[in-house]
């Protein structure tokens, strides 16, 4: 009787377990940005957390086009994904980060949104303004795309 119960339980478990397709991958890093193009300078369309599943749509030059659980599609560097399930989890750093950063899908590339660095700067008497200025004066995805297509041998190409 006991054996039958175990066998039925296992069968039910197998039938009801979510089937992982060949194209399923698991996020291996604490937080990963899903971007609109194959590069870190493209707009973030979603942020996935360690252990989350994504579906691979296609791969190009070490980048994978994926669909997230929230039905967002974008590109992620393949090295951030694993072909076998990954246990969800966070890092000690993010555990101690402020609530929103630690628990939400705040972009990975935002770190802890500067709160630690601001605290450090304040303690040392440094000006955080250098970070704000530099971060807000970088070219965007389309500008970099245009630049990459221009060999730059003619004067004025960078403007």
């Amino acid at each position: 009787m006991k054996r039958t119960t175990i066998a039925i339980s296992l069968l039910v478990g197998v039938v009801t377990a979510p089937m992982a397709a060949e194209t399923t991958r698991w996020v291996e890093r604490t937080k990963v940005d899903i971007r609109a193009g194959r590069g870190s300078f493209y707009e973030i369309v979603d942020t996935v957390l360690k252990g989350e599943q994504v579906e691979i749509l296609k791969t190009e030059d070490k980048w994978a086009s994926v669909k997230t659980a929230r039905a967002k599609t974008g590109w992620v560097y393949e090295a951030a994904l694993k072909a076998t399930p990954v246990q969800p989890g966070t890092s000690d750093f993010l555990k101690s980060a402020p609530g929103d950063t630690a628990t939400s899908r705040t972009a990975a590339s935002q770190g802890a949104k500067g709160v630690y660095a601001q605290g450090y700067a304040k303690e040392k008497g440094y000006d955080y303004g250098i970070v704000t200025w530099v971060e807000s004066h970088q070219p965007d995805g389309p500008q970099i795309e245009t630049f990459l297509k221009d060999p730059g041998e003619k004067s004025g190409g960078a403007k």
Binding site: S40, F93, Y126, V131, V134, I144, G156
Partner: protein, 322 residues
């Protein structure tokens, strides 16, 4: 008496706020006392010294603020964007193309460039003045991106953390709600007291960035920087040209001082130049130099230090031959 009252009030307030945020079960009074003394007993036991990307980014920002205290940032929108365009072209070919990179120019005649963890790269105006085309800039930025892509800072951070943990310094920031609560050590921003360990790690990386990496790490960064710039379509001779320009120009009268820091932060100059020459022997010739675009982008920003050191002696080197 007043100070003691403040401390008691601060402690009580901290207990209330922490209790609210953690649902009452997160942080114990013992940890609060530990935090006040810079020691969090639970953190010392089995504290993780691993670094993830969000932490690396925060440390990079911390290093940037330290650089900002020693150098003035050149707030030139067009020049910064140009350097960032070249930097991103190279970083896209790196071993960490998914990391977001930021590039800035420091308003100094000194010859130097810095790589901070998490993707922050700074180059001085004086360094740009030694260059004469984009391939050279790509070579130097490729080298700096190499330090970040190879995670050269991470071991230092880990060592710093291990040393701090062994001394019993806590790892976790205490979330205490908004506002400053006197009596609790650490910097307060947006309701977070920075952990002493986090600040020690930042101190360690600041020190590393300002003092420079080991000669072995410099050589590794050269190797990958060469590869990144070449993959990005640049003439692979860019970094070699820069190292040669540094060697040729540093001996000029009145110029030595500008190169002192470069030599200390980037050790092994002659050997590195020789290694670049060796790498070029097997590299495919060609690749763009983009000298015209570089000259246009430089505008007047880098010109002061680019003036000839003496009549008939150009600051920028003649076209090196391969």
């Amino acid at each position: 008496m007043k100070a003691r009252a403040y401390s008691t009030l601060a402690l009580l307030l901290a207990l209330v706020l922490v209790g609210c945020q953690s649902g009452g079960g997160g942080i114990t009074p013992g940890q609060i006392f530990g935090g006040m003394m810079g020691v969090n007993p639970s953190d010392v036991r089995g504290a993780s010294t691993d670094i993830d990307e969000p932490e690396e980014i925060e440390l990079g920002r911390s290093v940037a603020t330290a650089l900002g205290s020693r150098y003035k940032l050149l707030r030139d929108d067009a020049l910064t964007r140009y350097v960032a365009l070249v930097g991103n072209a190279v970083a896209l070919q790196s071993d960490r193309p998914d990391l977001k990179y930021y590039f800035g120019v420091l308003d100094s005649d000194e010859i130097n460039a810095f790589a901070a963890p998490g993707g922050y790269v700074f180059i001085t105006r004086g360094t740009l003045a030694v260059m004469r085309d984009e391939a050279t800039l790509a070579g130097v930025l490729g080298h700096e991106v190499g330090h970040i892509a190879l995670r050269h800072h991470v071991e230092t951070i880990k060592d710093q953390k291990k040393a701090a943990v062994s001394k019993g310094i806590g790892t976790t920031a205490l979330q205490i709600g908004s506002g400053f609560i006197p009596g609790i050590g650490g910097a307060v921003t947006s309701g977070v007291v920075n952990s002493p360990l986090m600040n020690l790690a930042a101190d360690g990386v600041v020190n590393l960035t300002l003092k420079g990496f080991s000669r072995a790490e410099e050589e590794q960064a050269d190797m990958v920087g060469f590869k990144y710039a070449t993959r990005a379509g640049y003439d692979p001779a860019g970094l070699r040209d820069f190292l040669k320009a540094v060697q040729d120009t540093s001996g000029q009268p009145g110029k030595t001082g500008l190169f002192t820091k470069w030599g200390s932060t980037h050790p092994g100059g002659p050997e590195r130049l020789k290694e670049q020459e060796n790498q070029l022997k097997t590299a495919q010739a060609g690749g763009r130099r983009a000298a015209a675009r570089f000259e246009t982008a430089m505008g007047t920003a880098a010109k002061p230090a680019a003036q000839p050191a003496s009549p008939g002696q150009p600051a920028r080197p003649a076209q090196p031959t391969r």
